[in-house]
Amino acid sequence: MRVGRMGAALVAALGVSLVGAAPVSAPAQSADGSVRGTLPGGGTFIVQPAAGAPVAGISLWYRAPSTGFGDPLPGMGRLAATTIAASQPITGTPVGRYVDQLGGRISVTAYPDAVAISTLVPADKAGDVIRALTASYFTPVIDDAGLTVAQRDLAEEGFFRQFSPDDVIDDLLVNALFSDGPARFPTVPTPQQLQALDIAKVKQYAARAFRPANAVLVVTGAVDPNVVESAVTGPADAAPGAEPALTEHPVPQPQPLTTNGTEPGLGLGWVGPAIANEKEATTFDFIADYLFRPDTGIVSKALAKSKTTVDGKFVTYHDPGVFLISISGGDLTAAKAIVESALANVKKPLDERTFAAARQAFVYHMLDDIQTPGELADNFGWYTVEGNGAYAPGAGGQRGRYFAAATELTPASVAQTVSAYLDRPGATVTVATASSRPAAAKTSEGAAK
């Protein structure tokens, strides 16, 4: 094993040193000041300079199934990215620790079809962090010590996740909505699933998922666009091209699911528009904001004084997106009635005044959600790996395609779009505590139990 690590390190160093000086190619500056281009080893880069705090948000995004490339291995995407962050690369310091030692922050996030490594660091260290991140992920060194640390991190994350009703319900809803594919499994593995992910499988996954040509590097904040030249090329023999975007397969009639949890809850979910359908996807973002944004959403406010927590979101996946609602705690029956009434109301056109105010608030909320470099970097990364980077709310600012789509919404178009999707059969989930479990239907197969 020790020899193996040395071998990998040598390959990594040689790969970097032989081709590391190649410049990034064909950068193009957009009207909004962002610069996009191709990394020397393939892959995409986006740099969006922004004034404000002396920080940089640096993210590496990958289109990669969370369950691996073959038979489903739940949790693989998150474990592989986390293991690399904890493993010792040729540069000597694991990249996770390196960022921490700069006083910055680093996190790994996994989705059914994507993995992201996000950092927030002092702007004057941006070049160093870009180099460290790309060196660590483009030529991944995965060692036993790193895997052990990552396994513990994920085990703890899984432990805490069971106490988050929203996460438990969302996992089950997408499980119910699709017939196959990674969305049927939570991205955080159960202890049993974690055991099945050995170092050989992690290495195999990482070599394919994190290859340079599959990367989207996003840099935002108080940086100069040429900072991206700090990215290393990666191994010369890495496979070219990016992974294709993932198309999921919805089931025609989702079956109701039930599970045990720490708090009683309900979930409602529907398949929504694909990211390519910009007007419809924006419609669902608008509806999620209007009904469910904490503090301001119609439903959130209606339930503010109750003991019920409600969360509603549209997730703009490649194809299709999903609209998920979770309700937990308190009087679930009463809360569900409020949610269903609110959904019925948005299937009819809102009056012009209400609609205009809701849209103005929606635009503000979107701008607020992408105001920091870290938020902006993840915004660009998400929309790019899902296949429509030009539609990212951060792209082009308020003159970009996202906000143009928001401007085009009308009360009638919103009602029509919502009806078109929510009148189809949706998924329902019931979470019972051990003492209150109803005699319900099928229990999920892949989702957390």
Partner: protein, 434 residues
């Protein structure tokens, strides 16, 4: 083989030498706009889509008597609930595409308004109107009271909040020691007349520090002028907040709450933002925050951290609190370990490598501390409130870089030798050794 080794060494040198440094845009300056009555501190960023305006008002906890505990928060919430066109101000702002928030500290109350610049220009006058003429009717005050009471309940279930309140109650000599939201008992007794009297005394122009960040257009400038004029021009009596001296032996306070695991919170005196030792204390914060965490791949979430550090520099005297998460580390062991570190810093000091490491962390933590528009507006106002220049952020970063081992030793000796311990333990649980 030889060629390969040569290439390898060149590659390593290139890697280890670090990359070409980015040419970061120049730090945004903070300018001062004369509002005619009060200065307005602005960090303008014309590329930002949003703007945020903050009013920091010397009407915080230290203006309260014991019987008035909760009045500062109730007053702020009453303003937020004052109807505008029949809708509570906070909802009217949200409906127009903005955010209004408020918070109360030991000495200041903070109002923050954020929106797109053109919208903000229409929202600031609404806040001005509510400040100039708050609705202190029973209905509105009761609505505000309900919100404040909910905050009391929320804080009671958070062991860190409980511990910090316990320490603050032990630390300050006057109203600054009172609970932020009062108690259910004191809150129930407060009336609209109390709110009016509190505002008449303390919501005056001379107590206000106005700051803004983001895209602060001339429209926003004009709106802020309207906002500043909402405050009365009468004078307010000064109040001096002081800290109680620590005893030779640590004071220990115990509280029981409905929480899952015990938390231990250790409180130290700390230098304010304008103190020459502030930067050195930020290095100490980095040391204490880094010393206890288990190895992890990425930055640990708060719930997974064994020890956390809160530097409450939104007051003078300031306070540094170190909390031990009982789910990750036995509180008694945590206390012993913290004592070991603080004692070592005060006696042995740090070697050059340690100092360099923690200065780097402290520098980075400081740079990434105030990133959002709201946080940057807060930082500017907070600097001014406690005697520092409005643009102190970069200077403090430079001061961190200049901290010496002797500075850290001096700060550890001056501030870390005496402390108070707050132990928050689950109800119906035996008291842990502490």
């Amino acid at each position: 083989m030889i060629a390969s080794r040569l290439i390898l060494s060149v590659g390593l040198c290139a890697l280890l030498a670090g990359s070409a440094s980015a040419t970061a845009p120049a730090t945004l300056p903070v300018s001062t706009v004369d509002l005619g009555s009060a200065p307005f501190y602005v960090q303008n960023d014309a590329t930002s889509a949003l703007a945020g305006v903050q009013v920091l008002l010397r009407a915080g906890l230290d203006r309260e008597s014991s019987a008035q505990s909760g009045l500062a928060a109730l007053t702020a919430e009453t303003i937020a609930r004052t109807p505008v066109d029949g809708v509570p101000l906070i909802d009217a702002v949200a409906a127009r595409g903005g955010t209004l928030s408020s918070s109360v500290g030991p000495q200041y109350v903070r109002f923050y308004l954020q929106a797109e610049p053109a919208t903000l220009a229409t929202l600031a006058p609404l806040l001005a109107r509510a400040i100039a003429k708050p609705d202190t009717s029973l209905a509105v005050v009761n609505a505000a009271r309900a919100v404040v009471a909910a905050h009391i309940a929320d804080d009671e279930s958070n062991p860190v909040s409980v511990g910090l309140e316990m320490l603050r109650q032990s630390y300050y000599t006057n109203g600054a020691a009172l609970p932020v939201y009062g108690t259910t008992g004191t809150l129930a007794n407060l009336t609209g007349a109390d709110v009016r009297a509190f505002m008449a005394a303390h919501y005056v122009r001379g107590n206000a520090i106005v700051s803004a960040a983001g895209n602060v257009t001339p429209q926003v400038d004009a709106a802020v002028k309207t906002l500043a004029s909402a405050f009365a021009t009468t004078a307010d009596a000064p109040v001096v907040t002081a800290a109680r001296p620590f005893g030779n032996e640590p004071k220990e306070i115990v509280a029981h709450r409905d929480i899952g695991v015990p938390y231990l919170v250790i409180g130290f005196a700390a230098p304010s933002v304008s103190d020459k030792d502030f930067a050195a204390m930020l290095v100490v914060r980095a040391i204490l925050g880094d010393a206890f965490d288990r190895p992890s791949a990425t930055t640990l979430p708060i719930i997974s951290r064994a020890v956390g550090v809160v530097y409450a520099y939104d007051a003078n005297p300031a306070e540094l609190a170190v909390y031990v998460n009982g789910s990750q580390l036995d509180p008694a062991r945590g206390l012993t370990a913290v004592q070991g570190i603080t004692s070592s810093l005060a006696t042995t000091g740090m070697n050059a490598d340690q100092l360099k490491r923690y200065k780097t962390i402290a520098h980075g933590e400081w740079q990434t501390e105030d990133v959002s528009i709201a946080d940057r507006a807060f930082a500017i106002g907070n600097f001014v409130a406690f005697g520092a220049a409005p643009d102190s952020g970069p200077r403090i970063a430079e001061a961190i870089d200049a901290v010496t081992a002797a500075d850290v030793k001096r700060v550890a000796t001056a501030y870390l030798k005496r402390y108070t311990v707050a132990l928050v333990i689950p109800r119906a649980t035996d008291r842990s050794p502490g």
